[in-house]
Symmetry: C2
Subunit: 226 residues, 2 copies
């Protein structure tokens, strides 16, 4: 029988001509609790179905968390930027996989799951509760996007979200390819590309290159994306 992890890996190979690197390129302990790890582009940080012994904090780079269907359809639930944490689960098993979008450094912290919570300092548990609640909020907002917004609205919201998370700059450097944006927004990469073209024609953005976007008219984007 195929384990969920094996299935996920199989699917990954459909998405990437070059198979993703397995596991960290390097790791070293940080203080007494953290373990610093480096991952190359598209390297797997953990897989769906894998036992989850850690929570992670992004130091540099970008991480995507996604779920796959047996036929290869993929939904990215979140991108994680430097400073953000990810990887916490109610059970001992990851129910999504995480990969580095670009070369990425993270710190992993040992985490025994909710059951091991007694052993964790109270402030840590409280912090984790807050982070989980914020994650839930973000995911619920994303439900609205996926369930009820059209392609243009989705891309507008995505650009505003990315801008806000990069400190609100008007020039965005997107770490991820069109394919990842599409899988985050529940679209195809062609549709994403067409919506970029449409925003460009409307004069609300300018594309310096495919990955470098100038937001020219935030108000127009907000009118679309909210």
């Amino acid at each position: 029988m195929l384990t969920p992890s094996a299935v996920a890996e199989t699917q990954l190979h459909r998405h990437f001509a070059v198979s993703p690197q397995r596991k960290p390129e390097s790791s070293e302990s940080v203080g007494q609790i953290g373990l610093a790890m480096s991952f190359g582009r598209n390297a797997e940080i953990y897989a769906e179905g894998e036992t989850s012994g850690y929570v992670y904090k992004v130091i540099s780079g970008v991480v995507r968390v996604s779920k796959l269907l047996p036929d290869g359809r993929r939904q990215i639930s979140a991108f994680h930027m430097p400073g953000e944490m990810f990887g916490f689960e109610a059970n001992e098993v990851h129910h999504a996989s995480a990969e580095a979008v670009v070369p990425t450094k993270v710190v992993a912290y040992r985490w025994e799951g909710v059951l091991g919570t007694d052993k964790q300092p109270a402030h840590f548990v409280r912090e984790l509760l807050k982070l989980t609640m914020l994650g839930l909020r973000h995911t619920q907002d994303h439900l609205l996007l996926l369930g009820r917004k059209n392609a243009l609205e989705r891309l507008a919201e995505f650009l505003l979200e990315m801008s806000a998370r990069m400190g609100g700059s008007a020039v965005l450097d997107l770490a991820m390819p069109r394919h990842d944006i599409a899988d985050y927004l529940g679209l195809t990469l062609e549709t994403v590309s067409r919506m970029f073209a449409e925003l460009k024609e409307m004069g609300t953005i300018r594309l310096e290159s495919a990955r470098r976007v100038h937001l020219l008219d935030r108000a127009a984007l907000k009118a679309l994306g909210t």
Copy 2:
């Protein structure tokens, strides 16, 4: 300026010819911490934008949690059944609204938000963390449904989810109208109706009435919905 709460209410009036009842029909304290409340069909339990002073547990009935766009598009993020808790937020403000789908009894527990967590017993915080993580998992699964599944797959998954949560019986009594199912699945009510018809033709379900569904072939539903 329209408050978010006022906007939500406006939109509700588009959805229901009869305006929803405001606030509990009755309430009485349970022990020293809980407050029992009753709500009629479509009554609002709390609104988006409202200050959140409580978490809730469903005693009987069904609750829907949803978000609205200014133009009336609605996304239901979850239905809550007896025994389940809902209404916890990272901030002091609800970022979704909750309504009773059918006449519903809940118990409300005072909750000061994450910041007030010190005052809560540790086991309660831990329990809440677990519930929030489970909610996050459910919501992420729902992202995959909304982003990547077709109408038939969505309905199949919905029926299996409902069956599982009603104890796995082969005869389902759906509390919610087609409109709510549609807003949960990111479809229109017409499409939901057509997918019911299609499952019926395939012989995987039988409709005793619109709300009462017999699951004849779970394996077929699983093949579609997973």
